[in-house]
């Protein structure tokens, strides 16, 4: 089962701070979304509103056409794992998994066991005594094995070491293919996870900056590579996001879609055009209004 998410004019305030500001975005069901934003951009608040962790001050969130807040039929279909997971500190990993099995209607105990082994989570140790990486791994295990039709991971694998993170990316993709669902991943490790995203949502200062398919978004800019002089001549007057130089070769990331005319011009200059790295684009799109 896959559920779509429809956020309509959502505003959430914390005292004087507006965390999410009149944000509207529609996420079709059955895709993996990357939710990108700088620190304090409103990512966690947006996901918290979708998961009924908090109420909207204005606007509304619909999951499969229904508001999730205090709606038991919807909330049990949503799983948000924040940071290292909302786990009871006194629990052992085993107890946390038992609780999830009780509350989660689609819980897959075998899959949970496989993940616990894969991420080397100590099953008897109390959550409070676990390292951040171990807590992250446990949170991710709960998030994936819940098989919730809407699964959101809010930097929840951030504390895991590199081998565990790469194992997580593989197992997430594998499980998503077997059990399609709507997955939203918020992360700062953009380059690591770009390959997972089918669509990307970028927010900044609580507002939507961009929402598009990953490849379409990456085509909003280009990495221009070639001889130094050719690249410099070709990119003259363009918005440059990043530059790299190795010997006589230079690579410049520019913002702006490359149409047929530009591609023809690139051939003339003998430079190669490739889609822009998502991280470069993200930095550019969110640097306009520094905090």
């Amino acid at each position: 089962m896959t559920l779509g998410i429809d956020v309509q004019g959502l505003t959430v305030r914390f005292g004087d701070v507006t965390a999410v500001d009149d944000l509207s975005v529609r996420l079709a069901g059955g895709k993996i979304y990357g939710l990108l934003g700088r620190n304090g951009s409103g990512k966690t608040t947006l996901m918290s509103a979708i998961a009924a962790f908090l109420q909207a001050d204005r606007g509304r969130v619909l999951v499969d056409g229904e508001q999730p807040y205090e709606n038991p039929a919807v909330t049990e279909q949503i799983c948000l794992v924040r940071d290292s997971g909302d786990l009871a500190d006194q629990d052992s990993a085993r107890a946390a998994l038992k609780r999830a099995a009780k509350f989660r209607p689609n819980w897959d105990a075998e899959f949970a066991e496989r993940l616990i082994e894969l991420f080397r989570v100590p099953t008897r140790r109390g959550v409070a005594r676990m390292s951040r990486g171990q807590r992250s791994a446990l949170g991710v295990t709960v998030g994936l094995a819940s098989r919730a039709p809407v699964t959101m991971l809010d930097e929840s694998y951030f504390g895991m070491d590199a081998p565990s993170r790469y194992a997580f990316y593989d197992v997430l993709l594998e499980d998503y293919i077997e059990h399609p669902r709507t997955i939203v991943i918020s992360t700062h490790l953009i380059e690591e996870v770009t390959r997972l995203f089918e669509e990307v949502v970028i927010i900044d200062q609580g507002r939507l900056v961009a929402h598009d398919e990953t490849e379409a978004l990456r085509m909003r800019g280009a990495a221009v590579t070639g001889a130094v002089s050719a690249v410099e001549a070709f990119t003259d007057g363009m918005t440059v996001l990043a530059e790299r130089r190795l010997g006589g070769t230079k690579s410049v990331t520019v913002f702006g879609a490359m149409g047929a005319e530009q591609r023809a011009r690139a051939s003339e200059f003998d430079v190669e055009l490739e889609p822009v790295a998502l991280q470069d684009l993200f930095v550019h799109l969110t640097k306009e209004a520094p905090r």
């Binding site: 918290s48 205090e70 709606n71 038991p72 948000l80 997971g85 909302d86 009780k102």
Partner: protein, 247 residues
């Protein structure tokens, strides 16, 4: 309300009570050892010749009120985030928490009731009868059909007030709840005052000279206070946001 709401409420209450089983077991063991083992032992070893011996077990009532109250305080801060993150609504959590209040009070009522009987038996071995310092609805520790309900209602009042206090702190931080603390403990005092038991009962009868209301009035009044406290806390929790978790 849907069946999911009640099913999840039942799961919440069982989950919390199960999680508390070890600490509750230790607490009960310590109370029994300290008050029945050491306390009554010293009282009996000191000799009861002629004097009127006071009930030692009666003083354990403070422990069996305040420990469950502390558990009540932790209900919302500890379990609301866990429950919401598990897909449980606040309504289910609230109903489950109210069942936890009743369940914890039941455990304490059984502990206290049985303790009174054991103490009565131990004193009887020394040809004596324990006397109570505070007013109670029962005259003898053997009256378990009265002692248990009295303890259950009293502890319910304490745990319900604890849940209220914990929920208010969770929602508004430390400043305003601290200033409002005298108001937040009113439910627990009101429950005991309505039944004229414990030290609020002492104040009612001894200081204010107010006679105890007939049980047909006192007990329903206490239950109404508890129900209002639980209802109010439930209403509060239903609009409470889950706080961001510290890394």
């Amino acid at each position: 309300m849907s069946s999911i709401t009640y099913r999840k409420a039942g799961l919440v209450s069982r989950d919390v009570l199960w999680a508390l089983r070890i600490s509750a077991g230790w607490f009960a063991a310590i109370v029994v050892v300290v008050f029945l083992g050491i306390g009554v032992g010293i009282e009996l070893a000191g000799g009861l010749d002629g004097s009127t011996p006071n009930s030692v077990w009666e003083t354990s009532a403070y422990a069996t009120r305040y420990w469950p109250m502390a558990m009540g305080i932790m209900l919302t801060p500890f379990y609301l985030p866990v429950c919401v993150a598990s897909g449980v609504t606040r309504r289910s959590f609230g109903i489950g928490a109210a069942l936890v209040v009743a369940g914890l009070a039941a455990v304490m009522a059984v502990l206290e009731g049985v303790g009174y009987i054991v103490e009565h038996g131990l004193y009887a071995l020394a040809d004596s009868t324990p006397q109570f310092e505070s007013p109670h609805l029962f005259d003898s520790g053997l009256h378990i059909w009265v002692s248990m309900p009295e303890v259950w209602i009293t502890v319910c009042g304490n745990v319900a007030a604890g849940w209220l206090i914990g929920s208010v702190y969770y929602r508004w931080g430390w400043l305003w709840p601290t200033l409002a603390l005298p108001l937040l403990v009113v439910p627990t005092l009101a429950v005991e005052a309505a039944m004229s038991v414990g030290w609020p009962g002492d104040v009612m009868i001894g200081v204010l000279g107010v006679d105890r209301a007939p049980l047909g009035v006192a007990i329903p009044a206490s239950l109404v206070i508890i129900a209002l406290t639980l209802w109010g806390t439930h209403r509060l929790v239903r609009t409470t946001a889950v706080r961001p978790r510290r890394a």
